[in-house]
Symmetry: C3
Subunit: 138 residues, 3 copies
């Protein structure tokens, strides 16, 4: 069963959710894999992955707002030298996903109609984030 | 290494946790795979997957109660046209799992004694939910 | 595509985060797999897996403190016969991961510079925890 590994680099501009579904699907199409499994792995601890609704942008705004309240920046953290958004970024990553997995069928990601794949930047400053895309199948 | 992909359709009656372990094990048995990996992927953003204690039903009741308090329906959400339970369902999904993965050994899911696989319906109304079961191994 | 499955047993001394990266890398090295995927599965519902910062131990302390406040032991739980830390342990597991997945490249776990793999014991008493390490690749 063949496998393919590709890096995906995403530039982020501060706290934001980037829809990377198209870029992942392009790698699936390139691979020639018809039936299999796609695994995404983000190589950071202050940005994470999430599969979420792709239709109403208000869902993403509510998500950001909820997590901002759940993991407040004005809490007393020991790990604070990199800024008040740093430890919350680690916690938000722990509460969401470092890897996501989508079956491949008919050469397409088998996502539901309303599902998109998002990279969630939790730091206030922009950065370049690296995701490893691992594909296996036939 | 052979792989098998099968859909699993689960009817839910409002907010509830459905134990789908038996249905997943049946697909593993049917596949003939002795050693491998089972990946479950739910094709929705308002229902999720969880591996949790299968013995005391009070664990599931406490879980539901904790998440209901953690993600309140009476919070001000922008995304609210589909009902007050809709945005909380998306957040509860983000906090839990869209995919779960269980190794297969001796033709059985290598779950611990107390582990069951649950589909967690987060919407108040019933629905039919689709899970893709991806099995690979030998 | 070859696959290897190995058990990893970790003794914990009460609530704590154990860095198991070295033990997992040793199994990857032993397997001879150069490119592939490493899946870890913990066979318990009151201990979980987390990929987190491996540099400043204060990150782990803040993480434990945040989760202790988020899931209080003095909340009224129905499932309480095994102690006040038991139901919180189940909830903390639900909020984090039962499985983690790291691509393998050049015979190494493709972790980011600051990423370590942790087993998170959520019970107050010590225990022996079992993780199944599933490796596949070439």
């Amino acid at each position: 069963m063949p496998q393919v590994q590709r890096p995906l680099r995403i530039s982020t501009q501060g706290k934001s959710l980037a829809n990377i579904t198209g870029q992942v699907q392009a790698l699936v199409s390139e691979s020639g894999i018809s039936t299999g499994l796609c695994t995404l792995f983000i190589r950071h601890t202050s940005a994470s992955l999430m599969i979420q609704e792709n239709a109403d942008p208000d869902v993403l705004r509510d998500m950001e707002s909820f997590f901002a309240d759940l993991v407040p920046e004005d809490r007393q953290y020991r790990h604070s030298t990199e800024g008040s958004d740093d430890m919350p970024a680690h916690i938000r990553t722990a509460l969401t996903q470092t890897s996501e997995h989508i079956p491949i069928g008919n050469s397409r990601l088998a996502l539901g109609t309303w599902q998109g794949i998002y990279l969630w930047e939790h730091r206030a400053r922009g950065s370049t984030r690296e995701v490893v895309v691992h594909l296996s199948g036939e």
